[in-house]
Assembly symmetry: C4
Homo-oligomer: 220 residues x 4
């Protein structure tokens, strides 16, 4: 199994999932009140769309950084990757449910955002399991030195923990929990992915994709 | 015709099909009872989603192992591959039908799961026909020795047979047949694909994708 | 512009279009009569699905053969390719309309199949325009000798003509015209694509994708 | 991060978005008046489909030209690219809204086309931000000389401005604004992308994709 096809399949799933997100924003059409009224009522949909779009975008960026460092592709890695995608693919549906129920308030709104949190937690667990797999000797081009493994583990596991806390928060306040998911996305856009940052040596080159980095532009 | 584009097109189809699976889990929205009630009623949908997701995932993994070993891409192979994809593409629709009818019980539930079994049988036949095609001398990098061809045939054909039996079982009990499909998926996740295992020599390297294997990470 | 990305984008469109075809086969769910009844009523959908699936599959195979021979990618080629994709993308919708109206008979059935014929004609015109573009000196690896260009033209243009005739036939009999579209698909599955067959020299190698052919497996 | 996967993911999103466009043209099926009547009523859908199809096609062509010139892939570029895709993905939904409301006239039609204009403006801003990013020294293979940067800026920013004006026009006349969007698409089909035209030296080779150009066919 070569890395290229693992990436191609994953990219396809990420691309379809991120495009399906927008379908939740379709209006019902003439006969359901004025268009301005319908668009105005959709505001939770816009917020949820933005958060989910950048969340999937960030997973894609970090997935790439992680996988481009991998040198052996085993069946275990393929199935851990499937677990990650299992949850990525649920994000459009969970986002649509949040968009439908958030403005209605009550327990339904809380449950919708909690489900959204569960999906993001599952996605984060899938990602962490791939990162954990990659820590073992000989699986990556730039290995993580043994004494830095726990630091790496704590970093990628904290993402799942934050999403778990958000899931719990949803039962206190649905908008608060959704807002926190948005903050996590903003944080990850501005923070560099920890994977190469902590583990690699050629950090700068890895980021710039320069020829000396582990993932130069000529790499695929 | 080069192998790269056969893989790219197939990966695209696998990726879209696996992502569409999740759309079956969308709830109807406010006005159809509480969200908790709607989610609770969807349990057959979650079960069917999980089974179909890993079934498509396994086909993708095995498809890759099989195709990466191929050295000549003929029109016959392209059309056998289309037959496989013809059934892969039907999995989301068949899964949705199972999700809709399983809880209703009666003949409709049995028929829905039987149809699902027919689609999986067809998919398995498509896969076997590609495997059969690849047995001929000079078509693969690591050829199967003539005395081992029947063993290989029996292994990849048994998958289709199992799905055929499951299709029959559906008329006795729909949940039983669906459960058996799930067991098949679990079996294939933990069993290594027989293709390289039986046929190849560098089994370990092939699995790890190491540089000595027939499908090293630099291959694409 | 490199050929790789033209192929990747086209493959993506072909893959999504061929997967969306299956969505037309979804049943309405409980409450619309027994499942057996609903499935029985869908027979035009199955026929239309099969014809469209293999029609898109054939276009994809021939598109690849044609493009893999191209050495210069100009803006004109990119836009001719977009014209082809403009019609490919309409095939799922046109197929769904045929599936919905064929059994109803009358003028609606005829119009639905005629529209389907128009989409296939447009697709064929798009393909022919790419083939025509590729005839000019220096645009392909294996050029067509000037004295064989008209023979090539007649071959790829006859496809469009056949679909135009089928469109006309639809107004006489919708099932007849749909059946003829199916025959065209069967014909193209068993006939080799004329492009390399007529134009190229290394016909056998081109078909087998051998290392001597213009599109060996190492090509991408 | 290598350029190949940035392109693969973007191509996937472009391909799914351009294919989803056609779904807006599906008719409601038997029971909603004759098929001829339904198809006749859909004319705004056909117009909007054509304009959006070529608009996405043009963005894809120009995106490729721009990215193929890039030598370093940074996180900033990845997120600017996500901003572009955020709006690309909204085009099918915005197109569907225009198709639904244009014939109804009144403020709803104006608002639908204005929203469409906002999405195209956002897409143009996303594209311009990538182009702006690429102007800095050392980020592209064929750099833009400092004295030509403002000329380049004016060219790629004028696209966003035109779409902003179209958005304003929508409140005067919806069909006029939609027609103007169509004219912009026609203009871009026939005009060469300014990016390499202004900035590069090997303009001709870049366009023909010849071996001497910055993006020859062997490039990926």
């Amino acid at each position: 199994m070569d890395r290229g096809r693992l990436e191609a399949f994953s990219d396809g799933v990420f691309a379809v999932a991120i495009t399906l997100l927008a379908l939740n924003l379709a209006v019902k059409g003439p006969g359901y009140g004025s268009l301005a009224h319908q668009l105005g009522h959709q505001w939770p949909g816009y917020v949820a769309y933005l958060i989910s779009f950048f969340t999937i975008g960030i997973i894609w960026v970090n997935h790439h950084t992680l996988i481009s460092n991998v040198v052996v592709v085993t069946r275990v890695l393929l199935f851990l990757n499937l677990v990650l995608l299992l949850f990525v693919v649920l994000i459009p549906v969970a986002t649509g449910t949040v968009a439908d129920y958030l403005a209605h308030g009550g327990f339904d709104a809380k449950l919708a955002v909690a489900m959204y949190g569960v999906v993001l937690t599952g996605m984060s667990v899938g990602f962490s399991s791939i990162a954990e797999w990659s820590l073992r000797e000989g699986r990556t081009r730039v290995p993580v030195p043994p004494d830095k493994r726990w630091a790496a583990r704590i970093r990628f596991m904290s993402g799942g923990l934050v999403y778990l806390v958000i899931t719990g928060c949803a039962f206190i306040s649905a908008p608060l929990a959704l807002g926190l998911s948005g903050l996590v996305a903003v944080y990850y856009v501005f923070e560099r992915t920890p994977v190469v940052g902590i583990w690699g040596k050629n950090t700068g080159a890895a980021e710039s994709g320069g020829p000396a980095g582990p993932a130069g532009p000529r790499d695929t």
